[in-house]
């Protein structure tokens, strides 16, 4: 199997779906001839034709509104929002429309739409190229929210998202597009090729939505996380030499409650980690679920590690980013008494 980085794996997923299904089409800002600012759609227009992968105006509300109409017609549009920080102009079309059309029409209409967008920090992108808005979607009934953490999952999850008949927000952790990131910005970037999950089948395959993965097995404490933070959590466990079980949620809604309960009932201790700001972040929902489902197994409060409740500050990126040290500290707190 070829080794792919995240970008190549995502590109391969799109390539496979364009070839398999004439109703799949891609559009968004700079995704056509140029192939996207992160090159995820590189070569797709040349290979599949202008009408299959084309540039759109710089209007996210229009992109999603138009894509919804295409989905209603029967196509499977895949749109790119250049950065998750720029998804807000499309928020009304996502929340009031894409998420509700099946429900309000009692199944008469539905929207098989995939919205891809790079999210998260760690690239010195400043306030508007670093945000993690997943909780603004997990609160909205009618959409699914997916976050891959490695090339193999990225391709399999993206194919599942495109084939899914409901709207999916597909958040791509841009910090790990080119290599896994343990949270040490001062160390050289490892290429994906050194990572086992960079082995990606060339053809069609899926990773089911709603299923978590055990990224690292352990018995002492459970870490619930996703995206870039999966790698940071694993590094934290190794470095602090803590027998932590790291659960890569992969899908946030619907979340794999079974996997969460299984692990927390085993460890009795839990840490929740994400880059997004703490207050009302998705970690709050995870805390609530864990204490609702595992209260009598919990031996310590669930610890949340998250971005501080501020905008993402350019020069303080590494003070802001919840790195291995903060996760290790949280694991230790979870392991107290």
């Amino acid at each position: 199997m070829p080794a792919m980085n995240m970008i190549q794996a995502l590109n391969s997923a799109l390539d496979v779906m364009l070839a398999r299904d004439p109703d799949v089409l891609i559009f968004g800002e700079d995704v056509g001839y140029f192939g996207g600012v992160f090159r995820v759609t590189d070569g797709l227009q040349k290979k599949h034709g202008v009408a299959r992968c084309f540039d759109s105006p710089v209007g996210e509300g229009g992109i999603v509104g138009v894509a919804i109409g295409m989905g209603v017609y029967g196509l499977r549009p895949v749109v790119e929002i250049q950065f998750a920080d720029y998804i807000y102009p499309a928020y009304d079309q996502i929340v009031s429309e894409a998420a509700r059309i099946r429900y309000r029409s009692a199944g008469d209409f539905h929207v098989p739409l995939t919205i891809r967008t790079p999210y998260g920090g760690g690239i010195f992108g400043g306030q508007t190229h670093s945000q993690s808005p997943e909780a603004l979607f997990t609160h909205v009934a009618g959409i699914k929210t997916v976050v891959p953490s490695n090339p193999r999952d990225a391709k399999g999850l993206l194919i599942s998202a495109i084939e899914d008949d409901d709207p999916v927000i597909f958040l791509e952790p841009k910090r790990i597009y080119n290599g896994p990131f343990e949270g040490h910005h001062d160390r050289p970037v490892q290429p994906w090729s050194k990572h086992p999950l960079s082995e990606v089948p060339e053809g069609h395959y899926t990773v089911a939505l709603g299923e978590a993965a055990v990224a690292r097995a352990g018995a002492a404490v459970t870490v619930l996380t996703y995206g870039t933070m999966v790698h940071v959590a694993i590094a934290a466990a190794e470095e602090a030499d803590i027998d932590a079980e790291v659960i890569d949620l992969r899908t946030l809604v619907p979340v794999d409650i079974g996997a969460i309960v299984k692990s927390v009932e085993k460890t009795g201790r839990c840490v929740v980690a994400h880059e997004a700001t703490l207050t009302s972040g998705y970690g709050a929902e995870l805390c609530a679920l864990v204490q609702e489902h595992c209260f009598y197994h919990l031996e310590a409060p669930v610890q949340r590690v998250a971005g501080w409740d501020t905008p993402y500050p350019h020069a303080f990126e590494w003070d802001y980013f919840p790195g291995p040290a903060r996760i290790a500290e949280a694991m230790r707190r979870a392991l107290e008494n």
Partner: protein, 410 residues
């Protein structure tokens, strides 16, 4: 160099408020039949004058005159009249049902019937409509069962929308009527996307959408015109300028600085302004735009110049913000009356026939209502199982909704 005059904030105000005598002398009404009909492949730039004038076919004697006269046969005209009368009868009945507490909410289209009914004739049956909440005339003209419209309003066990939607928020894929949104403007770019999909698939179906003049202020109006222009989407974008957005007159939507049809100009699209109470004129422009779209020449923006004869909805009392008899002063009259007079003028209709039609439709609506109420109303009769409330959030019900539906069921 600097002009030291002090600035002041301009806030548009309508000419009349309750108590004032309505006077529409400022509304320019060019005589019918004066504008010629450009070819449907005309350059958008050359069509700018149509954005500022008013396309009219029916003259003062209710004769159809001029190049825009669509020359519809009497049968087609009678169908249009029948559908408009039916729509008005339906509105009156459901309005009363709300007043009697049988439904929670209602919105009439009185005075604006032509702006939807005429499109049902100009469009093909399989063209897709993305309406606002005042195009019930489309469903009626396309023959959607009125009983289903009523059951939707009653949220009873026959409600096709399973009690999930506010009354009048109809939806029917089969009848090419997109599920109405409570959020203004969202349907406009969706219609453009649907039309782009039709073009992408090399089909020949086009889309049409309706938006109120008030809602043109939403960003989605801009997105729709922009995408429609850039990708030459086969879509008809209609602005129903009924002069009011709840209590705000059209000046608050920008209607005093320019026409809504002229918004098309900056996008390089044709913008046609039409007498929205003139069934023939509305049909003619819709037909022109449909032909242009279907022959791959892209979108047209149409301003349907009309008047909202009744309150915004059953939650609204228009006498609080406009002269109560304003509609009577409206210079473009009533679409039903004008089409009726035209049919009589061409000897294809009579007062007697009209009388009969009015009674027959009223009767039919009353009977349908009885039928619907026999099935149930919002307050009385059987309801769909409350567990259906958890369905259709997703295609397949995820664990957390199954869990919640158990909790609700217990």
């Amino acid at each position: 160099m600097r002009n030291r005059g002090r600035l002041s904030l301009h806030i548009p105000q309508p000419k009349h408020r309750p108590g004032d005598k309505p006077d529409f002398s400022n509304v320019a009404v060019p005589p019918a039949g004066t504008l010629d009909r450009p070819p449907t492949d005309a350059k958008a730039r050359d069509l700018a004058p149509y954005s500022y004038s008013l396309i009219r076919v029916l003259d003062e004697e209710a004769k159809a005159v001029g190049a825009w006269n669509p020359r519809l046969d009497a049968e087609a005209l009678r169908k249009g009249l029948r559908d408009m009368v039916m729509t008005r009868a339906y509105d009156d009945r459901m309005y009363r049902a709300q007043r009697q507490g049988k439904i929670s909410f209602y919105m009439k289209s009185t005075g604006e019937e032509a702006t939807s009914v005429a499109y049902a004739s100009a469009l093909e049956r399989d063209d897709m409509c993305f309406p606002s909440y005042r195009q019930q005339g489309l469903l009626i003209a396309r023959g959607y069962p009125m009983i289903d419209m009523m059951c939707q309003c009653y949220s009873n066990t026959r409600d096709p929308l399973k009690g999930r939607q506010l009354p009048i928020m109809y939806s029917s894929r089969e009848y090419g009527f997109f599920t109405i949104s409570g959020n203004l403007g969202t349907q406009f770019p969706q219609a453009v996307g649907w039309a782009m999909a039709s073009a992408y698939k090399g089909g020949d179906r086009i889309a049409a959408s309706w938006i109120g003049e008030g809602a043109t202020a939403e960003g989605d109006f801009h997105h729709a015109l922009n995408f429609a222009s850039i990708y030459r989407a086969p879509v008809i974008l209609n602005v129903v300028n009924n002069q009011w957005a709840i209590s705000s007159y059209q000046g608050i939507a920008g209607g005093e600085e320019s026409t809504f049809a002229s918004r098309a100009i900056g996008y390089g699209l044709p913008g046609l302004r039409v007498d929205g109470n003139d069934f023939l004129a509305v049909y003619a422009v819709a037909q022109w735009a449909a032909e242009r779209a279907r022959s791959n020449r892209g979108a047209t923006l149409i301003e349907l110049f009309t008047y909202r004869a009744e309150g915004h909805s059953t939650s609204d009392d228009p006498d609080r913000y406009r002269p109560c008899d304003e509609w009577k002063a409206w210079p473009l009259g009533d679409p039903v009356d004008r089409l009726k007079r035209h049919l009589i003028a061409i000897g294809a209709w009579s007062e007697k026939q009209h009388q009969a039609l009015t009674e027959e439709t009223a009767m039919l609506v009353r009977e349908t209502q009885r039928e619907a109420e026999a099935i149930g109303t919002l307050s009385e009769g059987p309801k769909p199982s409350k567990l259906t409330m958890f369905e259709d959030v997703y295609r397949d019900m995820p664990w957390h909704l199954r869990r919640q539906s158990k909790q609700a069921g217990a």
